[in-house]
């Protein structure tokens, strides 16, 4: 018994060692995917991971990779757990990882200081630390297409355009962890300026599915608008509770992690009218998505349920892959190498330019607003559009709304300064 165990362990160690060797073959691009198909947020994690994986599989199948180099995409299961996140990071970084997409604010925060040391950039696409949008302070971190603060400012603009924000009370219901608390400084800064009042409704991770107290409080506070920073099982529960207290759905806006098909499907008809922010197109009408269906899904190489293809989170996972792929291409152009490094990738991300024309070439015309980043701007001034749930699917109801860059920018600068204030050794870059 014991002998077998020892043999097994030794064998496993050898195999583990061996598997590191294989990844370093010629002309490949290694992209790790820190996914979570288990754990409390698996519902969202599965969709994102599928979209992310399928796009690279499609590129490999259709174009033979990027610039002639095959993409090796490897998933590592984090279960949305910070400790497992470190393990995954360590397990993959040695294989020539180009970029990390942690998909968890907790893991992102852990990786931010590591990125400059290991010289592997982080792309926290629409999550993570808002301040990381400041490229001068955070040379290695990117938040394309927008930071949480930018998103919140877009949402405020939407509210302002639909009945005005002045004198209104905005209820902010959020998952009571780092992620949910991110926009609070912005709300507190903008509230007095724009003349609105905020009521906060935190939802503990444990109470994600028992929110009746929060919604009773909503009933008591009677906010004019509700904005939600939720995730996972919290979203559907919140919308259900809102329906229960008969909160008007068209005054209830979820951020881009609280406006997916998986969130609204359980709610169904009673969620009709609920509004969500989004930055990635919905549906399968885009040629790129069609290619994915053709080359990957129909070929049986996808883990995704065909019904989920084109869904909000699937497409977002794909969009993440698009950004990575475009940045790789940019890096290849800049360096002239087929096989690039993490440092090259950073250059690619800093010269990232997803124009409307390029979107068209990619088969994603109208999928998202153009994004252009540079050395100083790591969020690309991304716009969000609003979508509304019609009881069974999402309809886009607004054009892309640009963030209030003037308002958000200084706040981001302050936050970035605060982040490095107690880190004397922090490496910044100068962008002039």
């Amino acid at each position: 018994m014991l002998k077998k165990l020892i043999v097994g362990v030794l064998g496993a160690a050898l195999v583990t060692g061996a598997s590191y060797e294989t990844a370093k073959a010629e002309d490949t691009l290694y992209v790790p995917s820190l996914s979570y198909r288990t754990g409390p947020f698996a519902g969202a994690g599965v969709q994102i991971a599928n979209g992310f994986a399928d796009y690279f599989a499609m590129l490999n199948a259709r174009d033979g990779g990027i610039g002639g180099a095959k993409i090796i995409m490897e998933e590592c299961e984090t279960a949305y757990n910070a400790q497992k996140g470190v393990e995954c990071y360590e397990a993959t970084k040695g294989k020539g990882a180009l970029v990390y997409n942690p998909y968890s604010t907790g893991i992102t925060l852990q990786l931010i200081p590591k990125a400059p040391v290991d010289e592997i950039p982080i792309l926290s696409m629409g999550y993570g630390l808002s301040a990381a949008a400041k490229g001068e302070t955070f040379p290695w971190t990117f938040t394309y297409p927008a930071s949480y603060w930018s998103q919140m400012s877009s949402i405020l603009k939407y509210i302002d355009a639909n009945g005005g924000v002045k004198g209104k009370k905005i209820g902010f219901i959020y998952l009571d962890v780092g992620y949910g608390k991110e926009p609070i400084p912005l709300l507190e800064a903008l509230g007095p300026k724009m003349g609105f009042e905020v009521a906060y409704f935190p939802v503990g991770v444990k109470e994600m599915q028992a929110q009746s107290a929060q919604w009773l409080n909503v009933r008591k506070e009677r906010p004019d608008w509700m904005v939600m920073w939720g995730f996972g099982a919290m979203n559907a529960s919140a919308i259900k509770e809102a329906a229960k207290i008969r909160y008007p759905m068209d005054k209830f806006i979820g951020n881009w992690w609280a406006a997916a098909d998986v969130d609204l499907r359980p709610v169904g008809e009673s969620g009709k009218g609920y509004i969500g922010a989004n930055f990635s197109g919905i549906g399968t009408d885009f040629p790129a998505v069609q290619d994915m269906i053709k080359h990957v899904v129909d070929a049986g190489n996808s883990k995704a349920d065909p019904a989920d293809v084109g869904g909000v989170l699937y497409n977002r996972g794909m969009f993440n892959a698009v950004i990575v792929a475009e940045a790789i291409a940019a890096a290849q152009n800049a360096t002239g190498k087929k096989s690039i490094t993490g440092a090259d990738m950073r250059v690619g991300l800093e010269t990232f330019d997803l124009s409307a024309a390029r979107l068209g070439e990619l088969g994603l015309a109208g999928f998202t607003a153009p994004i252009k980043g540079d050395c100083a701007d790591h969020e690309g001034a991304g716009s969000v559009f609003m979508q509304q749930w019609n009881g069974s699917s999402w309809d886009q109801i607004s054009d892309p709304i640009a963030p209030m860059t003037d308002e958000v920018g200084p706040l981001l600068t302050d936050a970035a300064a605060q982040y490095v204030s107690d880190k004397p050794e922090w490496k910044t870059q100068s962008c002039n």
Partner: protein, 362 residues
């Protein structure tokens, strides 16, 4: 054959009271120490990439060993079940974070060791109910600690310096010119620091458990009423167990964030982690310091090994293996409890017994 104590006699009580009275054990420990101090820091684990071996295996395993020893003092030696381990680690981590911001120039290792005292106080405070209640009721009390503390970590902004991200981020600190915390710290440095703290604490744990105080804990565990009638003060015994246990756990929490994770929010201290540490104690062996090493190493590396095995041998994806390892650990807990409640430590002893008489069957 290899493990015989024949011919070794202890002629004084001092000799008999040593931690490892048998010569082979002394040699064994020496080999382990040489490996840990001279081999691993330079070569990592053979067959594994160095950074991975250090950051994903060695450092966390050492840190969790401290946690496990701490929890074992409470559960294994004193018989008081706690499901608040995760939160007590959090107390250590947040305490250390606050200390670093108040004393930026103090040696970080001293701060880490000092932060344990904060969690020791908090632990003793939440241990107070154990004087009146025991068994499952105490489980509920420790859950109260767990959830209340978790709430504090979120709600009390002072704890994370009102950081907008709500997380604690580790500053870079140097000791004698070596960077020991922060992302720039070399894995080797961090490993050696953690290892030394572990060795130091393990010796203390070993000493305590073999002496008067350890006996008073075990008396409470084995038969609290008899212990009281023989003259153990339940107050002192239980609270000292809670305090010492929480000290270890707090130090390990500080180490976890400062030497390993680099940044942490409340998720790293939630109740699921409390279960994980309890599993380490049970599988390793209740009431065994050696077992704590085994339990921590096993529970931490098992899913990693399983994941690799699944991927490279059977082509099974990580998701399935994640669930398989959940089930497997669950099954192992049940099996160990049925077959050998003293866990892997006891199995190891049996192996040693067998070695002692090898090659003869009896």
């Amino acid at each position: 054959m290899f493990y015989r104590e024949a011919g070794q006699y202890n002629t004084t009580y001092e000799q008999d009271l040593q931690a490892f009275p048998i010569k082979q054990d002394k040699i064994g420990i020496a080999i382990w120490l040489v490996l840990a101090y001279l081999f691993v820091p330079f070569f990592g684990i053979p067959g594994l990439e160095y950074g991975f071996a250090m950051n994903a295996i060695m450092i966390p395993v050492l840190i969790f060993t401290i946690t496990t020893i701490g929890l074992n003092i409470l559960v294994g030696f004193t018989g008081q079940i706690s499901l608040g381990t995760g939160a007590f680690m959090g107390v250590g981590a947040y305490a250390c974070y606050k200390l670093t911001s108040y004393f930026p120039d103090t040696n970080i290792i001293i701060l880490i060791l000092a932060s344990g005292f904060v969690s020791a106080i908090v632990g003793a405070l939440f241990g107070l109910p154990s004087l009146r209640i025991k068994g499952f009721y105490l489980v509920v009390a420790t859950l109260a600690a767990q959830f209340f503390l978790e709430w504090c970590f979120i709600r009390v902004g002072w704890l994370y310096n009102y950081n907008p991200s709500g997380a604690i981020e580790v500053p870079q600190r140097e000791v004698l010119g070596w960077i020991v915390t922060g992302a720039s710290a070399e894995p080797m440095t961090r490993y050696l620091v953690v290892l030394s703290i572990l060795v130091f604490l393990a010796i203390i744990a070993g000493n305590l458990t073999r002496g008067r105080i350890g006996r008073s804990w075990m008396m409470i565990r084995d038969m609290d009423i008899a212990a009281e009638l023989i003259g153990v003060r339940p107050l002192t015994a239980k609270l000292s167990a809670f305090a010492v246990s929480s000290y270890f756990i707090g130090v390990s929490g500080a180490l976890m964030v400062f030497m390993w994770l680099g940044a942490a929010e409340v998720e790293s201290f939630d109740v699921n982690h409390s279960f994980l540490y309890l599993f380490m104690v049970i599988l390793g062996g209740l009431g065994s310091i050696t077992g704590s090493f085994m339990g921590a190493a096993f529970i931490w590396t098992f899913p990693i090994i399983l994941k690799e095995l699944g991927k490279s041998w059977f082509g099974i994806n990580a998701t399935v293996m994640e669930n398989v390892s959940l089930v497997a650990i669950g099954v192992m807990i049940v099996v160990i409890l049925i077959a050998e409640p003293h866990g892997m430590a006891r199995l190891w002893q049996i192996v040693k017994q067998k070695l002692r008489i090898w090659p003869f069957p009896h």
